[in-house]
């Protein structure tokens, strides 16, 4: 029996190496984020007043969609080459392995999205007072979205065409995160405090951190063996 800490570390290291070797999977959601945000002024016109009003919501919705796009790859390659089945029959704690995979997924998509967001905020002329709220809310929100999304990815990993289905079942579950995340940025843009929204996002992340790896591990057992 392996020590939990070294199991976590080994999985984490392996997945991180894999993520860096497939740079395309890492970069594509970011490029999507950038291009999709660019579409908005092109559709609505470059008026500053309009852009300032909608910037927090648009950035958050696009970050949500970019996360959704990246979810399918979370377990896909492990499922295709059979290593996921090896993990299932191995005598290790599956939720811990899943947790390590989610952590890598967040490092490879959620964190870059958060770091890219201020740049897009500048493009949409977001007030400077809102930048720290944007980063903090996305930092907490993308982590929670990776965790919840992992359940959806685990449920659909055995299916050939899981992509759209993941979005369908995961998006309603993202609604609270979207509401509080966008509202934090909105409040900060108006110069109001946003501690409450960030605290709620943190609470959501804490719940997801406890429950999502368990649910995702259970879902993997169902969808891979079935």
């Amino acid at each position: 029996m392996t020590e939990p800490a070294s199991l976590f570390r080994a999985t984490f290291k392996r997945d991180l190496t894999l993520a860096f070797r497939h740079k395309g999977d890492m970069v594509n959601p970011l490029v999507f984020f950038l291009i999709a945000i660019t579409m908005v002024p092109l559709a609505l016109g470059p008026e500053k007043a309009v852009l300032v009003r909608i910037a927090p919501g648009i950035i958050w919705v696009m970050a949500l969609l970019a996360t959704l796009l990246s979810l399918d790859s979370l377990f896909r390659s492990d499922f295709d080459d059979g290593s996921l089945e090896q993990l299932l029959i191995a005598p290790y704690s599956l939720p811990l392995v899943v947790m390590a995979k989610i952590a890598v997924h967040w490092l490879a998509t959620g964190l870059p999205l958060t770091l890219l967001a201020p740049l897009l905020g500048v493009m949409l002329s977001l007030p400077t007072s809102a930048f720290s709220a944007l980063c903090y809310s996305l930092l907490l929100g993308t982590a929670a979205m990776s965790l919840i999304g992992a359940v959806g990815a685990a449920l659909t990993v055995g299916l050939r065409k899981g992509g759209v289905l993941i979005s369908l079942i995961v998006m309603p579950l993202y609604i609270p995160i979207l509401i509080f995340g966008a509202s934090a940025v909105q409040a900060a843009a108006l110069g109001e405090p946003c501690n409450m929204q960030l605290a709620v996002l943190g609470a959501g992340l804490a719940i997801a951190l406890v429950l999502a790896p368990l649910a995702a591990a259970g879902a993997l057992r169902v969808s891979v063996n079935g």
Partner: protein
């Protein structure tokens, strides 16, 4: 404690035979209650002072709203029972719940928007309750989509059960956040009907309608589950016997 009834619940055949005798009773009481409550509520309950006759859609809107919510919980609980005790029947109940729940939320949204037209002046208002039911209908759509995506029936059952459980944890959070979102963005044009205490003469028909709709829901759920039982057990001997018996008795009826 005697657990025999619980183990019996695991047998689709027992459920099918047992519910056979319940159906006429449920049918009569559902239609009776709905007719009495409907005529009472639509015809005889007093008119609302501010909304006049348009408030009467409440007698359909509110009961269906209650049931569409409890339907999700029934789906999640039967999914959990199926996962934990590995029984066949709860999964069939769970599968039957999703399309019924979707239908109910669609009725809630339709009656809500018909009610909204005279009260708020628009067909659709981003009202907290209407939005919550829209999201609930998305959850049902997701459950149906996941159920249909799998070739293997066992996998489909277990996967939908897990999704239903995850949704159950999320539903209170979604509700609270939508409430909060609404109070933050409350549109100024909205004329909210004050929290008036509803008059007993309006309330009694509502109670009758709620009970009537619950009985009706039970009936529809049992009918859907029975169909699912026949579909899944179609290779077993008792279903074959049942079909043969039925066609025999029909044949005799035609001859006499």
């Amino acid at each position: 404690m005697n657990w025999q009834w619980f183990h019996r619940l695991g047998s689709p055949r027992w459920f099918y035979e047992k519910t056979d005798s319940w159906l006429p009773w449920l049918m009569v009481s559902a239609w009776g209650l709905l007719l009495v409550g409907g005529i009472w509520g639509l015809g005889f309950a007093p008119e609302d002072a501010r909304q006049h006759n348009s408030f009467r859609i409440l007698y359909i809107h509110a009961p269906v709203a209650y049931i569409s919510m409890s339907c999700y919980y029934i789906m999640a609980i039967s999914g959990a029972v199926g996962l934990i005790w590995k029984m066949k029947l709860p999964f069939m109940v769970m599968k039957a719940c999703a399309p019924i729940g979707l239908g109910l939320t669609i009725v809630v949204l339709l009656t809500g928007s018909i009610w909204g037209k005279p009260t708020w002046g628009t067909w659709w208002e981003w009202d907290a309750r209407l939005t919550s039911y829209l999201i609930l209908s998305f959850l049902y759509l997701g459950a149906i989509a996941l159920q249909q995506a799998f070739q293997n029936r066992d996998t489909a059952d277990k996967a939908s059960a897990i999704l239903a459980l995850v949704g159950t944890v999320n539903i209170p959070i979604i509700y609270k956040s939508v409430d909060w979102w609404y109070t933050l963005h409350q549109p100024a044009t909205l004329k909210i009907v004050g929290k008036s205490t509803i008059d007993p003469s309006m309330l009694y028909p509502l109670f009758v309608m709620i009970i009537g709709f619950y009985v009706f829901f039970t009936l529809v759920l049992i009918l859907h589950t029975r169909t699912e039982i026949l579909r899944r057990e179609s290779r077993t001997q008792w279903v074959k016997d049942l079909v043969v018996d039925n066609s025999k008795s029909k044949g005799e009826g035609a001859r006499s």
